[in-house]
């Protein structure tokens, strides 16, 4: 009986080679057609033609595969041809490491983010609330070696009656405090209409989690030259996040920094759940720098240090953290911002700003 199987397997081997020969020939012809279609500016995928081919195959089918199986199988063959083209297209995704193998370094003025540069720390209050608050915070974090300052002037809030930020006045206060202390200013943009005032006021435009798939905003910011910090959506897959970055690069802005900020899960001990795999996969699949917002990821002060350690170990290019002179009276995020004393303790525990992340590049680029 084993002899029988051996003989039949030899027949399979021969048929495999015959299949390969036809598949290769078919792929060559398909490529030729593709070139002609491209020259005519026509799309490669033609569902009517595909349907006609499938109909012809079904008409010719006499088993043992059912018609459904024949259709599914040849559809897979067609898709393989299309995948071949897609593979080639994928190399064209501007975010892809296949397109651009080396780490992108985004320079915010003279501060580099990404590549082999030391991990950066972006610190500041959730929202800019007053001149005193923003000035005190900027002074403190700058005195501790921080170079990048965060502070929201326009706040996306679930409830329309919550504090929504000081708006343009907030941008002015943030800019002044940053200028006074040699800091770069990062603030969230919610509407393309505000882009001109942001371009005059900030050093990095932040796109928030709720706007990750606000495609019109992405397109507008993609036409700016300012660095962009793109937060991952609350329930976005990694692919959706990377495609949002692709919108920015596609419009011409190469200075994109990804920022993981925790995903929505069933957990009630934390506000969100930090997804370190997303950091790893963003580094593997793209060449862009990746930060981690440890404040929103956990929503708990007692997790800031361990989550920072995990984020840096997995290869994050920097950390984002909320600092407020008096979190108990903050107009938002009271429970998760650290005060100045807490901030100093955090720096001691995490070794910022002396943190070096040797081997970060090695982890993801030497594949």
């Amino acid at each position: 009986m084993d002899d029988q199987i051996t003989a039949l397997r030899a027949r399979i081997d021969a048929l495999n080679l015959e299949l390969l020969e036809r598949l290769s020939a078919r792929a060559q012809v398909a490529e030729e057609i593709g070139r002609l279609q491209t020259a005519q500016g026509r799309s490669h995928y033609d569902p009517v033609r595909e349907q006609a081919m499938l109909d012809a195959l079904v008409a010719a089918n006499h088993g043992p595969f059912s018609d459904a199986t024949v259709k599914s199988l040849l559809k897979q063959v067609f898709q393989a041809s299309m995948q071949l083209e897609e593979e080639q297209d994928k190399v064209q995704y501007l975010t892809s490491r296949r397109h651009h193998r080396a780490d992108t370094v985004v320079w915010v003025g003279d501060v580099p983010i990404g590549g082999d540069h030391p991990a950066v720390l972006v610190a500041g209050p959730c929202a800019i609330e007053s001149r005193e608050q923003v000035e005190a915070t900027a002074a403190h974090v700058a005195s501790r070696g921080v170079r990048l300052f965060r502070g929201g002037a326009y706040k996306p809030r679930t409830d329309p009656y919550s504090f929504q930020g000081l708006g343009e006045e907030g941008l002015r206060l943030g800019r002044a405090a940053c200028d006074a202390h040699g800091l770069k200013f990062v603030a969230e943009l919610m509407d393309a209409a505000d882009l001109p005032v942001f371009e005059r006021s900030v050093d990095v435009i932040q796109i928030g989690a709720r706007n990750m798939q606000n495609f019109r905003l992405l397109k507008a910011v993609g036409r700016s030259k300012l660095p962009v910090l793109l937060k991952r959506g609350l329930s976005a897959t990694i692919e959706e996040w990377v495609m949002a970055a692709e919108y920015l690069l596609h419009e011409g802005n190469p200075n994109v920094i990804l920022c993981e900020r925790g995903i929505r899960t069933f957990e009630r001990f934390t506000r969100n759940t930090l997804d370190v795999s997303a950091v790893a996969l963003a580094k593997l699949e793209t060449h862009l720098p990746v930060l981690v917002d440890v404040t929103h990821s956990g929503g708990r002060r007692d997790l800031l240090v361990p989550l920072t350690k995990a984020a840096l170990a997995v290869g994050a290019d920097g950390i984002m953290l909320e600092v407020h002179p008096n979190p108990a009276v903050a107009l938002s995020d009271q429970k998760q911002q650290v005060d100045f004393e807490g901030f100093d303790a955090y720096l001691d525990a995490t070794l910022f700003p002396e943190t070096l992340s040797p081997g970060r590049t090695e982890l993801y680029t030497e594949r």
Copy 2:
């Protein structure tokens, strides 16, 4: 021993009444302060004052509660006072049934949606692709009694290289087809900058799931007078969805229709998971009409009929459905749109457009 317990319980009863007396007195004083603060335009919640009160209580505490428990307990008492005000505030949420007990009926021209009116059917292609496609679809659905036509001219797509809709040309084609067949036109708006052209072209502005928390867009559309169909976000809680509607009402637009379209779950047999509880709770908590998009909820043609039956049974005020002359060649959503024959079979199985939903109002308004 039971006598002892009885005696101690009498002591508890007396203390309960003493607590009630002080709590009532305290609430009265707090109300008075609240009125004075409102008169001064000051916020009621003052975390510094609260901290001072808690500090004083801790200083006075001699057990048996720990300081932490005293703080937590009195914090709960403070919150009860705040809750009292919040309760009163809640009546002020414009979306709330406490504010507006009767069902809101949104009129799209002469077509009523909500209240005791028969459930409506919104049908049409995912995207407007050509004059022929939109014209044929409009003619067919109108011939079957449909009054509301959907068709996207601007399509939010995860991948920047996917078909993004015909834009303004799509709106023109849709408007023309609707005018030719006496249909009302529903189309998705992605950017406040396009609002003027939408106000000239459509009868209902749709806000898509990915823009549910695009607060700037909500504000702009809230200042329009056109009816708005607000889809629920992919992972939004019901409260977040209702708060998004609150943005619209708060800006002055009362013509808001909610639309459940399935939530993201772990399920792989369906694209999304229809959440009928969300329909029920939206009807219980708000006075707004609620539709269900059965095409996106399941992402499968074989679920359209059962999901429609479930949606109508739970009290939905209408259904949204994608219809395309030839789904196999559609530029999006190939797998889930129905063709004309499928559409006719759907109508037969669901009894549209003769569907009446008696008892719908009864289910949610007689509480």
Copy 3:
């Protein structure tokens, strides 16, 4: 140029047919090998052989497909052959409608569940707490026409210090109350070791959500002849749920009733989220009856009526509901059980027990 494309397409058409011919031949040979392997009691899938075939193909490949594409493509061809066998295997899944097209009716004594029989109502307390409580509840629900009584004697509790049920004494109390009022008794089994006492005491064995993938328990219950009510796990996919039922049928027990009880989601307004698509898909993919536990699905009394309507509309074969003489003092589920008055109001609103579900069978079996 169009002529060129036409000519090339003719070449593609010819190659398609050549591919079909080889694929069919290959499938025939593979089938023959499969038969010989089955005769030898050997598994069909042989990864070493597959690897050798792929290696040979890669060695023979000269483009235009990359080696990776050739492997992926032929792997798809191999899988198509395997799928052909799997398709045939699938017909062998005992739960599958392909295997068994007609609805299975599970008889609990003289009470039929499934098929065209009217929807059933399973009512009773979360847990059996005392003789008085179980007797009063059984008397009340029986007086209203209910035939199936639920009541837990062994309660799975997250916290080891919570009330865990009365155990065997609970089974005795439940059995006595059911006998006194002509009811069938449904109770949850947590351990195969208790199976003998359950077989003496209950009419339907319930397997709870947390034990849905307790495969040893499934196997033991599969060897019993008692009807089984199998709850869906809190985050189980539909496929995982159906595979758990397959364990029961595979061991020889055909009397399986599926029970949807809501899935874990991000929603905070409800305890779980009723998944009506799961009911529809369980009816489409299997021939088993499907119930819906409306108490756990929503966890709110005000959702019992709308969720019941949705469940019956989507084709559920029955409803499960918790009733307690005085929910406020219940030892579990205080917030979601209804009292007798609430139960009567529920029956009036849902038209139980006169509910007929005409067209239920039609919805799912006439495909």
Copy 4:
């Protein structure tokens, strides 16, 4: 007007102190009652008594709080008393750091897990398939310094027709291989009935994710003296996981090791999503050692190194990893096991087994 507010605030301050006085008095009386009830073996919570108290309070209520608010508020006061007792109870949770501040070190023979001991590595195949496979793997990992060997003899499989493990024969093969190479043997137990044979064969009993809430299994294993490795359920909250461990400790087994293995999320690039916050919170809230299964967490070989780094950085006490002589032909988990060469590369990249985790204890015990 500010004077008025100041005066009213003084009145509030006085009322606060009066409330504190009554609350303290009430708590003392309640404690006394509690002691008497404990002496009688009665439960502290008496819902009928609570209802009577609330009724009396509502009868006495004359505003400004509504009856509902009075009930809710005093219910909170009652709960605060109960919480006081619960707080005291919580100290009694055997898993809690409040109960047991120092890290528990679980000794598997002479191998310590937890505390300040170096992180351990548990390596071996997903399933034990043959004498040759288990022997080769044990030899290889032992030669590289590994002390703990994993290998499944009973495999929980979604599909009843999948390979379910070699059962007792698998345990024998695993034991022999471990004995030959000086390894400790870790294997999954699925049914309490198999406990005797496990106690003769293995060094650590693993409880799998699907059985995390199989409470009867937990109770049985809790009565064993063998160390237990408790995996977190696929969608379990951290609290549910810790409560499962509590079952084990409550039954008398102190040798419990927690194991995070990734949670179910919407992500399609990974099989599960590693939750590093869960590791951090398990270390904060309990005194038990915590491992991370990096194979199941990501389900991808290219994530093993970065996830290991993150896990160790966040304070994990060890790592679990699947190794197989030839993953391509494995009977399960083909895509995620590493071969010997991959294992050696993994060790080089992660610095196992020389890994020290200084500061681990510091991270979580010095609070």
